[in-house]
Amino acid sequence: MLTEPVPEGPASATERAFAAIERAAIAVASVAILAAGALVVGGIVLRAAGLSGIPDAELFVRDLMVIAVIVPLSAVAGRRGHIVVDLLVRRLPARLARAIDVATAVLSFGFLVPIVWSGVQNLQTAWTRDSYYDGALELPEWPGRLVFLVGFLTFFARSLHRLLTDTRRPPGGDA
């Protein structure tokens, strides 16, 4: 189930900085969703008018999808919005539950580290080889790869910050 956002105490400077980044990330992702929709609608309108569609519209939409999906991930981490199953752990003593949460959060980095690392490698490859997508405009690959890397880096940083603040909390404490 989706976890409820946990109310926080007085925000630290780091927390405020992350909150500002996440607001910006959500705004960027929102624009990406609307832009993808606009490109699709634009294509339909042009098709209906008997004109050729927007060149490489599908490729633009695919790049916008990366923005829409990856950029707000830090906000999901910040709001504790991940889909989790807490049927078992919520019934455990607070101290044990906290220990399990910290342990699983540490294990989560076993996924984030390789994905960030591979993100760096893929960006390097796309940049140095000047890779581009097949299409009329020969759009470069690197912007999508860059967004992917930046999105996962902020997600990594936010998850790390969450882990550090959670370890300092008293067991069972929300803030």
């Binding site: 929709g37 916008l64 999906v69 707000p72």
Partner: protein, 446 residues
């Protein structure tokens, strides 16, 4: 290491991590990464060598995640989520309930029937079961309670009616199923129409039966409406009907693909909101914020599931299971029954989207292996996910209704109201299993 053993260990590890409250996306993605690394570093009959595993494993991580989301077809998911959020903030969805309330309110159980039809209409625009239950528990339940309806009937009708969101198009779970099962999302949307209507009518039948047996649970409201008021209420549903027509008729008529229908519906919903002065700037921002966060939340799990599916394909576990089942001579209906029971049990404890993404990597090849129609299979799975939303102890919609009413109706009363609907759900599932044409006839006419 034997790939099959590794596959079983990885699956078990993912289950344990999920049970330990690790976010499902991390559990699936992390397990896939670690298990793929071991698969390449320690092939069967050879010594362990980490150096040969790093490159292919990282390639799997990057290709599975980036290529998966770098997709035109998938763009319909954020668009449908945005459509639901905008339609809700512009009060387009609420007008549907108002119209049914005005038209049907005086019938025995009329307000409960109106809330079920309202949920059906809401689902035809938003595709979110939880949003439907949350909205109607704030609008319809207080009204029913004010007119003396039994709290069990009022909350049971709304919690159950809310489940229609996944089956009636547009549906985000159908879109996700279509992507993983490589099936036409347009066909899946159309396939959900008859089962969705059948479910809705079944819920209405339960309310009619309930009101006939216990009239004191559903007294008719004193409020009456003039023909002019009824006409005005019906006319107010115009925007909702328009959005429904764009999505369903647009897809069925071959005018739009599922993605195009989503984009056009978002544009029209925004135009209705702005030019009809229904959507404030704050409402628009809130809707888009919801859409962005929900999109990222869903796709993070989907990325993990995609990696999990890729790892499973590498191990060959699914093929072995399919072959084994083939040799046992199980009939497709026996497989389907087993899947139904599996989803019924999982639905009692797990999040619907989690169940879907967790099981699809195994179940889709299995269904394909025994030649089950994947459109029909998808309808059965989504129907079972809906049922999971109201089965105790973790019937998510029951919790949503409970929380939306700030605890005014105890949880055990909500579940007590839901069980009558659960009985009819079993009848509906049996009908869908017995008559595949209920799910496959309409998409075949596309």
């Amino acid at each position: 290491m034997d790939p099959v053993v590794l596959g079983v260990v990885a699956f078990s590890a993912a289950m344990v991590l999920i049970a330990l409250r690790m976010p499902i996306g991390f559990a699936l993605g992390g397990t896939s990464f670690a298990a793929t690394f071991v698969l390449y570093a320690w092939p069967a009959g050879q010594a362990f060598d980490a150096s040969r595993a790093l490159r292919p494993t990282l390639s799997l991580v990057s290709n599975s995640s980036f290529t998966f989301i770098h997709s035109y077809e998938l763009s319909l998911v954020p668009l449908y989520i945005a459509l639901g959020a905008i339609a809700f903030r512009a009060r387009i969805t609420v007008d549907i309930y108002d119209a049914f309330r005005v038209l049907l309110g005086r019938l025995p159980g009329g307000l409960a029937i109106a809330s079920i039809f309202g949920c059906g209409g809401f689902s035809a625009i938003t595709g979110s079961s939880v949003a439907c239950a949350a909205t109607f528990s704030k609008i319809a339940v207080p009204e029913m309670l004010r007119y003396g309806y039994s709290p069990r009937l009022a909350t049971g009708a709304v919690a159950t009616g809310g489940t229609l969101g996944s089956l009636i198009p547009p549906s985000v779970p159908f879109a996700i199923y279509g992507i993983f099962a490589e099936q036409s999302i347009s066909k899946l949307f159309v396939a959900g129409i008859v089962p969705g209507l059948l479910s809705m009518l079944a819920y209405v039948a339960v309310v009619v039966w309930w009101a006939a047996r216990r009239p004191q649970d559903a007294p008719p409201p004193a409020e009456t409406f003039t023909p002019a008021q009824k006409l005005a209420a019906v006319l107010r549903t115009g925007p909702a009907v328009l959005l429904f027509l764009i999505v369903v008729v647009g897809i069925y008529g071959g005018i739009f693909t599922a993605t195009e229908a989503a984009a056009v519906a978002v544009a029209v919903a925004l135009a209705i909101g702005v030019f009809g002065r229904r959507l404030s700037w704050e409402g628009f921002r809130a809707a888009m914020s919801e859409a962005a966060v929900q999109t990222a939340t869903i796709f993070f799990v989907a990325i993990g599931a995609k990696m999990f599916a890729t790892f499973f394909a590498l191990t060959g576990v699914t093929n072995i299971v399919v072959d084994w089942i083939g040799h046992q001579g199980f009939a497709p209906w026996q497989i389907l029954l087993a899947v139904v029971l599996l989803y019924l049990v999982m639905g009692m404890f797990l999040d619907p989207l989690g169940i879907l993404l967790l099981t699809l990597p195994v179940l889709v090849p299995l269904a394909e292996g025994v030649r089950i129609d994947l459109i029909w299979f998808g309808v059965i799975l989504i129907k079972m996910l809906e049922i999971g939303l109201i089965t105790p102890p973790v019937g998510f919609n029951a919790f949503v209704v409970h929380s939306s009413l700030a605890g005014r109706v105890p949880l055990h009363d909500i579940f007590a109201g839901v069980w009558r609907f659960l009985v009819i759900e079993i009848v509906v599932v049996a009908a869908l299993l017995a008559f595949p044409a209920l799910s496959t006839w309409l998409p075949r006419t596309l």
